[in-house]
Amino acid sequence: MFKFNNINLDIWTETYGISFYLTYLSRWPDLCCVQEAPNGHMMGYVIGKAEGHGQDWHGHVTALTVAPEYRRLSLARKMMSLLEMVSDETYKGFFVDLYVRCTNSVAISMYEGLGYSVYRRVREYYGSLGLGRASKDEEDAFDMRKPLSRDPHRRSVRANGREFVVSAHDVS
């Protein structure tokens, strides 16, 4: 946390309180990972957790971010595959899911490329970025999922997820 300024000063990355980071580290340290450059600078990190009951038991990506100067190097792809691997092998989850702003088209197409698909659209999940472009898309989130080896029949995903809308109150 003493070294993440180059990443967290970027507008897309939120800086949380101590308890946020320590909660994740004290419960799911193996779903949290930092990538460092050879010179010791932080390039990016991922924070995740395992949650849900029964068939819904899954890995969740809470934060995934890469510093501006280390973008376009497939770092996010590598961190996602680590998180999927741990969710699959250590936690035996059925799928991995994540939320993304509907406007963040770069991220959405990257996740689609990694095998994720939209499961549902969550209304007003995010706060406004406060930049004066109050559009619905900015505050709504897509819940995107990718099935793991425990879900060979792909029960955790559906094809028409973009039309499936729920309110933010209905999700955890």
């Binding site: 004290s26 340290p29 376009r72 190097l73």
Partner: protein, 915 residues
């Protein structure tokens, strides 16, 4: 609990849950009327009171509850929060221990007792509790609690050296006594490995690691893999690791940089592992290894192509190490590798930082490299723009001192501006949340102008830098890197308000305040208008200090939680994190800044002195960690020049020595007791950390307290009374002084002059150093005014003089009342004080008048015109809008005027208040 009682108590909990603490107190009183001995309600009332800051009442109630030795879960939980709020952490431990002793069968009480010890870092007691629990409840989890507590006790600085191996051996013995082997889960396995490593039992560790399950764990657990690498290295099994790494790189396509490092270490092992000069045979063998490794890395690079940069970077590192070990390598090898890397990854932003360690070229190599780069400039697409940015940065890095003339730098600045403005076309349609692709050219402009300022000493170059960077910042609103440069430049230009604006727009928060608040709070007292009642910087200090509060309330809890989820691998990190924040250098630097501003802001009364003294003494013996982040400030200056950070610091950044010097200054000034030797002693480390003016100031304060000290000693009430007072105050939580206490301290300081037996100390003339200091500062001030120094230097001199004046007032305030002068026959002394005060006042007043006049001059149309003219270079080259530059000129000169005038008025006010 009966339902009737439950009905009465529910509303109390509800009120507490919703933070309605006042109604919680009322609800408690209602129940207590009927049941005056209800312990739970008393505890809840104490909780509501402590939240209402009614510390004294809460203390009394809490003691009543504790005396009853509660064991009820609800009471204990409430009391835990009460005592935490009161800062009585050791009482929490005692409370749970007492409860657990009464009910040794209660597993939950045992757990709570263990956690209470964990929270305060009492590992020895924690270990004993866990051992007892393991015997009682036969759960391996408690066994590991006890094992890890022993490990932590061994790690603790307070544990004697000889005891450490004993504790670790005990821990190891305990592991083998468990019902399940340690590889039951990765974190227990980690604990086992950790103990073996600390005991240097590397072979045993290797046996565990080579076991099938051990290997499996290391594949998925990064922490176990990390300690595995460490152990293998310590064991000297570098070559074996290298072999494994080779397999991973080639067959599993593992691109973890640590694997590449393992292979590199293995390659040079035969040379690097001994201090003796290598024989020809060894050299030949290593050279052969190098060739093999080169093949591995080349293969990885070919397979990956553009997908991963590890292979090419490893090749560079290989050549660099080959050269540094004095083994033959073709002179052009590193350059060819760098060119190769650039050809593949030149259009990525990381290229510059990746290549930097390998580029210290000279002579012909440098020429070739430069011409290679020059042929790679192009500006057709966003990708080639990024490549050109890298070209310009890399060229700049290798400039020699001969190439850094003002003319050439100016030409460079103008070229950077041109390509920047051209490059803006690639970002025209981007939303304002995006960074402009050409931003880094503007940052280069800033660098070139700062370098020009350093070369020529002309302030105009800083103004040009500010104008260009403001322009870029308006086009790339999210670029924090541009703001970082502006913050530094505005401070140099004497416009701290603008620096603060940019800092606030960066939205620094939480733990970032520890690492980044230095940007605006280093020596903030020199910018502060506190004497005028402006508390901007004081509140910034308070806000930035919030993180230390949350650290002390939250982090320990997570150490306990990590025990409960058995995440041992995280605990050591959490403890280190807690310590680094708790003993952060920036934390206490801010504390001292706050005191310096407070002294200028408030009347110098006993309340201020007592409270600050306690806090300053509290931090005096800390061993500090410097968490400040200077790396985040971009640096593209040539390698023969200091970094941008170093160039733009108004003064050397305050370090541990500075802190120690200023702590001594203020503790001495606030001190009620005879000076202890270590407060008077100067250390070289302190002197080295001070600016020239601060050195004079430091000498001055020493002379002052040495001179005034004996009179204080004579007048002050007997030390025993004060000691008792101090002991009482120390029991209180710092930051929550009780009003009655402050009043008591006040009383004893003024009422206690019973006539003493001995004669008053002979009145001595003031040491020469004291008046001389003020004269020196005056001549420093005059010299700077007539020279070309920056506003920041001027303000530093003024602030130091003002601080000296305030300290003089602080040290002599006791001798002001006529009654004291009469009683102790201090007439002559009072006269000396008065003479000095008059002298210092007149100097401060003079400074004030000159500053006010300067402020007037700077913000006139003429002043702005001078600014615009100074920045003519950026307009000539680019058609930068004249009005835009004028706008920046107005903002900057207005801000400087505001600062000058504010500080001038502040000086006058300080003089008036204390004369």
């Amino acid at each position: 609990m009966s339902t009737a009682l439950d009905r009465q108590i529910r509303p109390i909990y509800d009120a507490l849950d919703t933070q309605s603490n006042k109604s919680a107190v009322l609800a408690c009183n209602k129940v207590l009327k009927k049941q005056p001995n209800n312990v739970l309600v008393k505890a809840l009332k104490a909780l509501a009171l402590v939240r209402l800051q009614k510390v004294e009442e809460s203390l009394l109630l809490a003691d009543e509850v504790l005396a009853k030795k509660p064991t009820d879960d609800g009471v204990l939980t409430a009391m835990m929060h009460v005592l935490r709020g009161l800062g009585r952490h050791s009482d929490i431990v005692a409370m749970f221990e007492t409860a657990y002793k009464q009910h040794p069968q209660n597993e939950d009480l045992g757990t709570q007792t263990f956690f209470a010890n964990v929270r305060v870092g009492n590992w020895k007691a924690a270990q004993q509790v866990a051992t007892k629990m393991h015997k009682q409840f036969q759960d391996d989890r408690y066994l590991y609690w006890s094992i890890f507590s022993a490990v932590l006790q061994a790690n603790d600085m307070a544990t004697p050296e000889a005891l450490r191996p004993v504790l670790l051996k005990l821990a190891l013995r305990l592991i083998s006594s468990g019902n399940t082997p340690s590889y039951f889960n990765p974190d227990r396995f980690y604990v086992h490995l950790l103990i073996l490593r600390e005991l240097e039992m590397y072979d045993d560790a290797a046996t565990l690691l080579n076991h099938e399950i051990g290997q499996k764990i290391c594949e998925t657990s990064l922490v176990c893999d990390e300690i595995r690498r460490d152990i293998m290295k310590l064991k000297g099994a570098c070559k074996q690791e290298g072999e494994q790494a080779k397999v991973k790189i080639l067959e599993k396509k593992d691109r973890n940089w640590l694997e590449f490092l393992s292979l590199l270490d293995a390659t040079f092992w035969d040379i690097a592992s001994t201090s003796e000069p290598a024989s020809e045979d060894v050299k030949a063998a290593v050279t052969e290894e190098i060739a093999k490794t080169r093949k591995v890395f080349s293969e990885a690079a070919t397979v990956d192509g553009l997908k991963d940069r590890s292979g090419l970077l490893a090749l560079l590192e290989l050549e660099k190490r080959t050269k540094s070990h004095g083994l033959w390598t073709d002179a052009c090898e590193i350059r060819m590798m760098a060119e190769n890397y650039f050809s593949q990854f030149g259009d990525k932003a990381c290229c510059y930082e990746d290549l930097l360690p390998y580029l210290a070229f000279e002579g012909e190599e440098l020429e070739q490299w430069t011409s290679f780069l020059n042929s790679r400039k192009s500006f057709d697409t966003p990708d080639t723009l990024q490549r050109s940015i890298n070209v310009y940065k890399l060229l700049r890095y290798n400039l020699t001192s001969a190439e850094l003339t003002p003319e050439l730098e100016l030409a460079r600045a103008q070229e950077y501006i041109k390509v920047y403005l051209d490059g803006l076309k690639f970002g025209v349609n981007l939303p304002d949340t995006e960074l402009q692709p050409a931003d880094d050219f503007a940052i280069l402009v800033g660098h070139a102008y700062v370098s020009l300022w350093k070369l020529t000493g002309e302030e105009s170059h800083l103004q040009s830098a500010a104008a260009t960077l403001e322009y870029a910042s308006a086009r790339s609103k999210q670029s924090y890197r541009i703001r970082l440069l502006l913050i530094r430049i505005y401070h140099l230009l004497g416009a701290p308000a603008l620096a603060l604006d940019h800092y606030r727009l960066m939205n620094v928060k939480q733990v970032q305040t520890d690492t980044l608040s230095h940007l605006i709070l280093s020596r903030a007292a020199m910018w502060s208008l506190a004497p005028l009642g402006d508390i901007t910087y004081m509140s910034e200090c308070m806000e930035a200090s919030q993180i230390y509060m949350s650290n002390s309330t939250e982090t320990a809890e997570f150490i306990a939680r990590a025990f409960s989820t058995e995440r041992y691998s995280q605990i050591i990190d959490f403890i280190e994190f807690e310590d680094r924040l708790d003993n952060s250098l920036q934390r206490d630097l801010m504390k001292v800044e706050h005191v310096r501003m407070r002294v200028a802001h408030e009347p110098l009364n006993a309340e201020l002195v007592d409270m600050e003294l306690i806090e300053l003494k509290f931090i005096f013996d800390r061993i500090h960690h410097d968490n400040r982040d200077f790396e985040v400030i971009p640096n593209y200056q040539p390698r023969c020049q200091p970094s941008f950070n170093e160039q733009t610091l108004p003064l050397k950044p305050p370090g541990a020595g500075w802190l120690s010097a200023y702590l001594k200054v203020y503790i001495r000034a606030f001190q009620e007791l005879p000076l202890r030797e270590r407060l008077v002693k100067k250390r070289q480390e302190e002197i080295d950390d001070l600016s020239e003016d601060e050195k004079l100031f430091y000498e001055y304060t020493l002379a002052l307290s040495e001179w005034v000290g004996p009179y204080h000693d004579y007048v002050r009430p007997p030390p025993s009374a004060l000691l008792a007072e101090a002991a009482k105050s120390n029991d209180l939580k710092p930051g929550h002084p009780l009003k009655s206490m402050a009043a008591a301290a006040n009383g004893s300081a003024t009422n206690g002059h019973s006539k003493k037996d001995e004669e008053p100390p002979a009145v001595k003339e003031s040491p020469e150093l004291i008046p001389k200091f003020f004269d020196d500062m005056k001549s420093r001030f005059d010299a700077v005014i007539s020279g070309t120094a920056l506003p920041s230097e001027l303000l530093h001199i003024v602030a130091t003089t003002q601080e000296a004046y305030l300290l003089f007032a602080l040290e002599t305030v006791r001798f002001k009342p006529n009654s004291i002068i009469k009683q102790y026959k201090f007439g002559q002394l009072a006269q000396s004080f008065k003479d000095l005060r008059v002298k210092a006042s007149s100097i401060l007043n003079e400074m004030s008048t000159v500053l006010a006049k300067l402020g007037e001059e700077v913000a006139t149309p003429d002043g702005r015109k001078a600014f615009v003219q100074a920045s003519s270079s950026i307009q000539d080259s680019s058609g930068f809008d004249h009005d835009f530059v004028l706008g920046v000129a107005k903002k900057t000169t207005d801000a400087r005027k505001q600062t000058y005038e504010g500080i001038a008025k502040g000086l006058a006010k300080v003089v008036k208040n204390h004369s």
